[in-house]
């Protein structure tokens, strides 16, 4: 890598230098040219003058004119000499020529300027392009370098990889070798082991022979006396019979074990079958029934489904009792099918749910913003309305508060009016009653007067009669006198009674008055107050308000009590009657 760099760098630098030089040359050229042009086009006035003066002097005017003429004619201008007069200058044509020359000069100058500008533009464009070019070249160099670097890296990695491969191969070889070694050692070890074991066995055999054949005196059992067997049986001879019996027993044991195991398995099987049945039922009940058949048929063909149905109908009950082998396939098939259906169903449901969910989500997402805005607007509106409502309510409340006094008074007045009316009604009743009483009293007094008169008359009669009787008695019949007075007395009794009753009737108020009096007094007071209050309805406002309300309550109570005790009303009325 280092080598490569040392080689490439100078080349690069020279290149860049070259380009630089080149560009610099290019750069300098327009300016120099322009300066030249400027120099050419704009010579100082002094120089020009000197130039012109140098060209034409007094001596060579003729030659110079002819020279100019020649030059002009060669340039296509008309001759400045008058054709007719020979060597005489045509001033008009000369001026025209001059003018044309000047115009030409101007045009040329303008064209030159334009060209210069264009030249500048082109120069700058050139510069730019050159710059670009240089940059690209640099980039190219860089990428080239990169490529070289990467290639180098790649090469290194490849070599590394090769090394690793080599190593791996070596390792594999080593492993193989080691495995071979191990296996060879293992076989060797096994072989040696076997050899040793054989030797050992031989030794054992020999030892056995030696030990056992020597008739070892020590090898013995000393027993006091032989004991009976645990099962109480005697030891049996070894015969083929016993052997057969042993076999038999062994198989019996094995058989019983297998039987037991089979029983267990049977139990387990029945349990599992039950579960299976239950599951099948559940699946069938769970699956939508109308979907089952149309889906089944096209998939599995008519024959199979028919067959299955047949089997299903035939074996629905006893299928579970049959041995597994005959039913297994059908059973597993049907279960599998149902399971597949269930799975499909569940998947479908899942899909639906997920779709629904996602759809809902999307919809929600889409709508939510609009909804949200709408909702917020709605809510804001509502809030506004509510606020307004509250405000109006507040206003109303305040208004109410301001005009509260009047309304309450009005209300109370209403109440009072009602009350007054009621009281007046009562008052009227009282009056009527009073009148009645008055009437009664009058009639009573009249009756009493009449009675007094009658009595007087009676007394007079009696006196007359007594006088008469006395007179007659004095005459002769004394026995008749004795019976008549008694008869008279009897007849007079009702009168006496009547008087008594009258006195009794009159008496109660006077008897009752001490106990009942406080209440009626109060009542009268209230009534007076009420009457006063009712008389001046809304004239007095606040101070009277409370009192009035109190009064009202109490009056109500009173009326109640009156109403309650219907018996007492009479007495009270009587009393009231007395009071005024």
């Amino acid at each position: 890598m280092g080598d490569w760099r040392t080689i490439t760098v100078p080349v690069l630098s020279s290149d860049s230098q070259n380009t630089f030089l080149y560009t610099s040359e290019r750069k300098t050229s327009p300016t120099s040219m322009s300066s030249q042009v400027l120099r050419l086009s704009l010579p100082s006035s002094k120089n020009m003058h000197s130039f012109f003066s140098a060209f034409c002097t007094e001596e060579n005017i003729e030659q110079s004119i002819s020279y100019i003429d020649r030059e002009l004619t060669t340039l296509g201008f008309p001759s400045i000499y008058a054709e007719s007069k020979g060597k005489e200058l045509n001033l008009v044509s000369m001026v025209n020529c001059m003018n044309e020359l000047l115009v030409l000069q101007h045009k040329n100058l303008r064209a030159q300027e334009e060209i210069e500008i264009q030249h500048l533009k082109l120069g700058s464009d050139m510069d730019h392009l050159q710059n670009c070019y240089a940059k690209l070249k640099e980039q190219l160099e860089l990428s080239k370098r990169e490529i070289v670097g990467l290639q180098e890296k790649d090469r290194q990695l490849q070599s590394k990889n090769r090394n690793l491969h080599q190593l791996l191969k070596n390792e594999k070889d080593e492993v193989q070798k080691l495995q071979n070694i191990i296996s060879s050692r293992a076989t060797q070890y096994n072989h040696d082991m076997k050899r040793k074991e054989r030797e050992y066995n031989k030794l054992k055999e020999r030892l056995h022979q030696l030990v056992m054949n020597k008739k070892d005196k020590k090898l013995a059992m000393e027993v006091l006396n032989y004991v009976g067997r645990a099962d109480g049986k005697r030891g049996a001879w070894r015969t083929d019979k016993t052997e057969a019996r042993n076999e038999e027993e062994m198989y019996k044991i094995l058989l019983s074990d297998y039987e037991q195991r089979q029983k267990q398995l049977l139990l387990e099987n029945t349990e599992l079958k039950k579960v299976l049945q239950q599951m099948k039922k559940d699946i069938i009940s769970l699956l939508p029934p109308q979907k089952q058949k149309p889906k089944e048929r096209p998939e599995d063909g008519l024959v199979l489904s028919d067959q299955e149905e047949d089997i299903g109908e035939l074996n629905k009950e006893n299928m579970w009792e049959l041995s597994c082998e005959t039913v297994r396939e059908q059973l597993t098939n049907s279960i599998r099918k149902q399971w597949r259906m269930l799975k499909n169903h569940v998947e479908k449901l899942d899909n639906q749910v997920s779709r629904g969910h996602s759809g809902a989500l999307n919809e929600k997402d889409v709508i939510s913003r609009e909804d949200h805005e709408l909702e917020t607007e709605k809510l804001e509106l509502e809030i506004q309305q509510c606020k307004e409502m509250i405000r109006t309510q507040q206003q109303l409340l305040q208004q109410q508060l301001t005009c509260d006094d009047d309304t309450t008074l009005l209300l109370q007045d209403c109440y009072l009016l009602e009350e007054r009316e009621r009281l007046q009604e009562e008052w009227r009743l009282f009056r009527e009653q009073k009148k009645n009483f008055e009437k009664e009293r009058k009639s009573f007094t009249e009756a009493a007067i009449r009675l007094g008169l009658e009595r007087k008359a009676f007394e007079e009669d009696r006196g007359a009669w007594l006088k008469h009787q006395f007179l007659s008695m004095t005459a002769d019949c004394k026995s008749e006198k004795m019976t008549t007075p008694s008869a008279f007395l009897r007849s007079s009794d009702p009168d006496i009674r009547l008087v008594r009753s009258a006195s009794r009737q009159r008496r109660p108020p006077s008897v009752l008055s001490p106990t009942v009096s406080p209440e009626p007094c109060q009542i009268s007071q209230y009534i007076t107050q009420n009457s006063v209050a009712s008389e001046k309805p809304a004239a007095d406002n606040k101070p009277n308000l409370w009192v009035e309300s109190d009064d009202k309550e109490e009056t109500e109570e009173c009326t109640k009590s009156w109403e309650d005790s219907g018996l007492g009303t009479l007495c009270r009325n009587l009393h009231m009657e007395q009071l005024p």
Partner: protein, 447 residues
Amino acid sequence: MNFSELFKLSGLLGRFSPDGKCLASCVQHRLLVRDASSLQILHLYTCVDQIQYLEWSSDSLFILCAMYKRGIVQVWSLEQPDWHCKIDEGSAGLVASCWSPDGRHILNTTEFHLRITVWSLCTKSVSYIKYPKACQQGVAFTKDGRYMAVAERRDCKDFISIFVCRSWQLLRHFDTETQDLFGIEWAPNGCVLAVWDTCLEYKVLLYSLDGRLLSSYRAYEWPLGIKSIAWSPSSQFLAIGSFDEKVRILNHVTWKKITELEHAATIASKQTIVYKEVEKSPTVGTERLSFPPTRELASSLFSTQSKYDISQVPVSLQYIKPVADRANPKVGVGMLAFSADNCFLATKNDNIPNAVWIWDIRKLKLAVVLEQLCSIQCFQWDPCQPRLAVCTGSSRVYLWSPAGCVVVQVPGEGVFQIISLSWHSSGDSMLLLSKDNFCVCYLEREE
């Protein structure tokens, strides 16, 4: 919970009788038989040498005491204390001895696994089984005691012989597809025999009683394989603990793997309860302190107490990195046991030695982890209910049940490091064994 006093013991030889009435224990060359409830000594037998192995006969009438060094087995009767029987294997030597399920025969394995001698207590007859395989678990009886399976090795091939125990007649003899058979175990129903290969190869073979190969299972190929195996009491599950710190559970119908229980060092599941044993400094009131301190107080002061705390998941358990260049690395599931009701499986991962993992078999999930302060020495399920007893070489016994778990300090002076325990058949008491002592722990029966 009550504890008996400590009794002397040697060689961890203390056993409840199968009927639960007696308790046999050995002290040097003496065999003591006690009443299981009162712990009064009923019988005392003296053997010719230090007893190395002790086994009750299935009917609880005889006790077998093996003295491997001398090659002698002595049998004692509980019914007739003066009855005695002595079996001398002579120059053939003795490495293992056991009762046959009927309790009237004794199976002695000679040195170098030359043969198994079947001695009868009823008759003078002696039977021999040749070529027994020298492996961890080469003889297995069915639970009903009818059949015995013996792993054999002939001509560098593994075989299995099935004998009828009643007459010691050979019923079946078949070769197994194992490289180097390591163990055999009957299913509790006695119809399936699980056979597993050496740890170099993960292979479980399941044979029917009649010798047919029902199934074989292989989880992986090259790494170290099976470390332990346990049948569920219902014979429904076969749990296989392996060196890859996993338990695989096979079912009994297809004999395929149901699940794989991983024993990760971090427990993150929220459904798992992690009980962590924490030390609790004994609180001694200053008023109780006296000078010089009483012995009892001193011992209580110096023996730290502990309790269980429920750790918040995730919990990372103490993990021991196994040494790679040693044989039999301390890694993988080395202990596993099903509860009596088949509902729980307790396991221990040897490179997380302080934890007991209790799996809920109904959910096939990790239910509980007990993280102890010391490494687990032994655990055993209550034979009647889902209750696990754990010991860790301390003087505490740990009990777990679905309701919770407790730490119980064995009272008493001195050091009592429980390294083994065994339940009484009723589940009401427990034998706690240390190197030199034992005591009985009585549990209150739950109403």
